[in-house]
């Protein structure tokens, strides 16, 4: 059956941060070109239905602006669904300079990986 694991190996419901870290590891394995992963947070993170959102910096991607893309879980390698915004290093610099805007209400959170 294809059901989303909710307890993983922790024996309890993982926190959103733990899910984000797990996804960051899985995404790096799937695409080694990723050079940075930052968690994106909104004002609804307390809602369990609010998806984990990751900003992934990848020099091999197209320069298409901020384009959230939904990815479903693909067990066993990718255990949870997520929303991914993949940008080039140049676009990431624009986001930190606030000349390229994230979706309304979304802000940069913890850096989960930096090459």
């Amino acid at each position: 059956m294809n059901q989303r694991p909710v307890h993983g190996t922790l024996g309890r419901m993982p926190s959103k941060k733990e899910v984000a870290e797990s996804l960051a590891r899985a995404h790096r394995v799937a695409d080694p070109d990723i050079v940075r992963i930052v968690q994106l947070v909104s004002g609804h993170e307390g809602d369990e239905n609010e998806p984990v959102k990751l900003l992934e910096v990848n020099p091999s991607t197209s320069e298409s602006g901020v384009l959230p893309i939904a990815f479903g879980a693909a067990p066993p390698d990718v255990p949870y669904p997520s929303i991914v915004v993949e940008v080039t290093p140049g676009e990431f610099a624009q986001i930190t300079a606030r000349s390229l805007l994230l979706p309304e209400g979304w802000t940069l959170g913890d850096t989960l990986f930096a090459a």
Partner: protein, 164 residues
């Protein structure tokens, strides 16, 4: 754009929204892949229903492998993106998405699909109980670029008019 192209663009956008909702749900993977296949097929038909589109492909399935890599490559040329992935991999992935449709079975070699049960090695398999390798391939560099380009084209259908 022709009225048919506009209508397919509208439906592709709606199918994408359905896919996004299903991607975040705990439902079996077949459901989101079903909408992925329908979304991308309609996106191809936006292009096919333009005046210069191939009329013989307008009313058939299995157009994703034939059309989408070409449309995406043209989109990347227009934006001067030179980091294009291996287009053979892109075509293979698109072909795998075509094969999710029950009427596309590679001359009976691939009965697995996202809608109806099929017979395999003495068992009848329900799509809801099946795993689909193509779901994992969406995370590869080629899969990510495919998803990003298809999402962009769906949100910007007027781009298609520039391709003919």
């Amino acid at each position: 754009m022709t009225p048919w192209s506009k209508a397919f663009a509208r439906q592709a956008e709606s199918d994408l929204r359905a896919y996004e909702i299903l991607a975040g749900s705990p439902l079996p993977v077949c459901h989101r892949l079903h909408y992925l296949q329908m979304w991308l097929e309609k996106l191809c038909k936006v292009y096919l229903w333009l005046p210069a589109g191939q009329a013989e492909l307008r009313t058939v399935h299995q157009v994703i492998g034939k059309v989408l890599p070409r449309v995406i490559a043209q989109h990347w040329r227009q934006m001067n993106f030179d980091g294009r992935p291996n287009m053979k991999e892109m075509r293979e992935l698109c072909r795998e998405i075509d094969l999710l449709h029950p009427q596309v079975d590679d001359r009976t070699r691939r009965p697995d699909n996202v809608e109806y049960p099929w017979f395999s090695r003495g068992n009848v398999i329900a799509p809801a109980d099946a795993s689909f390798l193509v779901a994992g391939r969406l995370y590869t560099p080629t899969g990510r670029l495919l998803m990003k380009a298809a999402t962009w084209l769906t949100h910007n259908p007027s781009t298609f008019a520039l391709q003919t």
